[in-house]
């Protein structure tokens, strides 16, 4: 594929708002996970809650979109001058030539969860104030961002669980290649809700403490929330070799089970190989791998098998979910931004919380950040339904 430059990008997670706090947290090995105090949740788990999301106010004209997920989208868009960067691209190429491709798994389902607590005792009806279309529906976040930023081009929400916002990079690349658009705003937004907190707990996939990816005593995921965005454009004449570019996207499906990975990570391996092939990159040329690394015993085992089979045991890798938590539908975009940051700022983030690595996994897992600049980074995102997506990012040229 023809590379696309990530001309601007930003991410907000429980480690902080925007790129500055994200880089300093990753460099210092600092995480944002804490005992879960979200809403009325009564579970013995940690969570990656972002401070101040509910203080965020949407513009009055867009009040119908008000919900935690869209507040988080707005909060994240305001960081690192990102909204201004979008407006500059719109001014340059036109509002109909910028595509909008966002991923979310649960959108504003929290609003429905709250509304169901307040049904009319006689009729069972939901409260009049509950707006399904602009909060709960999976497309809500794209409808909101499209109006907020005055975009009039193609838009879509990809909702494939935890690969959602990795796959949007593929949608954008295909639409640019087909000449439908000149630039794309891609990203992912997922916010805490009871469905995922109680749901993963029901599957016995949640850890009581902060998650420990690839550790011998790993015992499940820690759910986080996050929002990350990137602007993708064709490299201009002024693009320097320091620019970070999307070079390959690989997608596959396990065809195995709805909530368990293929035991040998076969689908994961196919997705990684497809991303390398699209980029024209050999396995030995990958300098750092940002693992999906959820910290469940079976997910990490399956991913490790796929990594060793395709890339060998030597490529430095880590999961940043020990710091951010698993941001589910936002994870693909959050980790693409972390990968971009690693390329642009010259480091390989170490994974935190994992004191004793599982020797059976056989990968080169970094437990401390390395101040070595990678030239090519692979980022993995896998999800329920057997969905897999890998992104290959590198420096241009």
């Amino acid at each position: 594929m023809t590379p696309l430059v990530l001309s601007h990008y930003t991410a907000t997670t429980c480690v902080g708002r925007g790129l500055g706090p994200l880089e300093s947290a990753l460099r210092a090995g600092r995480g944002g996970l804490a005992p879960c105090a979200f809403e009325t949740v009564d579970l013995d788990i940690h969570a990656g809650e972002i401070e101040g999301v509910d203080d965020e106010r949407l513009p009055a004209a867009l009040a119908a979109f008000d919900c935690r997920n869209n507040r988080l989208a707005r909060l994240a868009l305001r960081q690192d001058g990102f909204e201004d960067a979008v407006r500059a691209v719109v001014a340059r190429v036109g509002r109909r030539r910028v595509g909008l491709f966002l991923g979310t798994s649960t959108s504003g389902i929290l609003e429905a969860e709250l509304a169901f607590r307040h049904r009319d005792p006689l009729t069972g009806a939901l409260p009049a104030a509950f707006s399904y279309r602009s909060t709960q529906n999976t497309f809500s976040v794209a409808a909101f961002v499209r109006e907020l930023l005055g975009l009039e081009g193609p838009a879509v929400v990809v909702s494939t669980a935890c690969s959602s916002s990795a796959k949007v990079f593929g949608c954008a690349e295909r639409m640019v290649a087909a000449g439908v658009i000149d630039a794309a705003l891609v990203g992912g937004v997922d916010s805490l809700c009871l469905t995922t907190l109680y749901g993963f707990h029901s599957l016995q996939l949640t850890a009581p403490g902060p998650c420990r990816p690839f550790a011998v005593d790993r015992d499940g995921i820690t759910i986080g929330e996050g929002a990350a965005f990137a602007l993708l454009e064709r490299p201009g004449p002024d693009a320097s070799s320091a620019c970070v570019a999307l070079q390959g996207v690989g997608e596959s499906n396990d065809a195995y089970h709805l909530s368990s990975p293929h035991p040998d990570g076969l689908g994961a391996r196919i997705a990684m190989a497809a991303a390398l092939s699209a980029a024209g990159v050999e396995p030995g040329q990958v300098d750092y791998l940002n693992l999906h690394g959820t910290a469940t015993p079976s997910n990490d085992r399956a991913e490790a098998r796929a990594v060793v089979a395709l890339l060998g045991a030597r490529v430095p890798c880590s999961s940043t979910k020990g710091a951010t938590g698993h941001t589910l539908g936002a994870a693909g975009a959050v980790e693409a931004v972390i990968s971009a940051l690693a390329l642009a700022r010259g480091f390989m983030p170490g994974g935190i919380n994992s004191r004793q690595l599982d020797p059976a996994l056989g990968v080169h897992y970094l437990t401390a950040t390395r101040n070595v600049a990678p030239a090519r980074v692979l980022s993995n995102s896998f999800g329920f339904g057997g969905t897999n997506c890998s992104l290959l990012l590198g420096r241009l040229g």
Partner: protein
């Protein structure tokens, strides 16, 4: 914008009173009268029995139309790239989760939770068919069909191989049905190919243009178009059924509509 093109090798439909493409084709071509009736959903026999018991209506619907289109196009389902499009995926399951979470105990069933993902139909499809190729699941509220079509066409262009588009919607039960009223289950599948084959029905070219969606002239059928996001495809299907060359405007996001030009093969 430049148009995205593909050849349509097969069409499948399941909707209220539209039981499969041959029946729907006759109604849309006005060779047969429209007889209203509930959408008939076949059991997803392609799934192992254990998985079949766990699937909701939208999964049965998506698998049924997907297999109908793939079989008619003569495609090997195990290697197919798929694009799933739905406004809400499994609304019955979502209702049950919200009900459970409103109780004091909040004892969610693990199966309910894993069925709650928007790509549940895509996941069950891949288990049923063994397809390990790329598969995606999209949402665009009432524009879900046109967004799915645009995505599927972009995949045909990028991959130069057949892509199966499956759009499927089922209504929520009360009380969500009052907030999001849909008439009945509606599913459509299109088998798309990069080049003309023996079974190609038409060449399709789609582009986003300023405008509004076309309505169906037949007042008995127009409620089907509005009754479910997948029903928004009916003006396009009408062209296919009448074996006409022409163009229709499909619902997209304001101020745009998806202009679909059809040339008979």
């Amino acid at each position: 914008m430049s148009a995205l093109t593909a050849f349509v090798d097969a069409i499948a439909v399941l909707g209220p009173g539209l039981d499969g493409w041959p029946a729907a084709e006759a109604v849309l071509a006005r060779h047969a009268p429209y007889a209203p009736g509930p959408t008939l959903l076949p059991a997803p026999l392609a799934l192992p029995a254990a998985e079949r018991r766990r699937t909701g209506r939208v999964v049965k619907l998506a698998i049924a139309v997907g297999l109908e289109a793939a079989n008619r196009a003569g495609l090997e389902v195990g290697g197919l790239v798929t694009v799933f499009s739905s406004s809400a995926c499994d609304g019955d399951n979502c209702h049950e989760i919200c009900q459970t979470l409103a109780t004091a105990e909040r004892e969610l069933s693990p199966t309910r939770f894993h069925n709650s993902v928007h790509n549940a139909a895509a996941g069950y499809w891949s288990i049923a068919t063994g397809a390990m190729a790329a598969s995606t699941a999209l949402c665009g509220y009432d524009a879900s069909f046109a967004m799915g079509l645009l995505e599927a066409l972009s995949q045909v262009a990028a991959l130069q191989r057949p892509v199966l588009l499956i759009a499927a919607d089922t209504p929520y039960p009360p009380p969500l049905s009052a907030k999001r009223p849909l008439s009945d289950a509606f599913g459509i599948a299109l088998a798309l190919a990069p080049s003309r084959g023996e079974r190609s029905v038409a060449r399709l070219a789609a582009s986003l243009v300023e405008g509004v969606a076309d309505r169906l002239a037949d007042t008995a059928l127009e409620p089907l178009r509005l009754g479910a996001p997948a029903g928004r495809a009916l003006p396009l299907l009408e062209l296919f059924a009448r074996r006409q060359t022409g163009s229709v405007m499909l619902e997209y996001l304001g101020p745009l509509a998806l202009c679909a030009e059809v040339n008979r093969c």
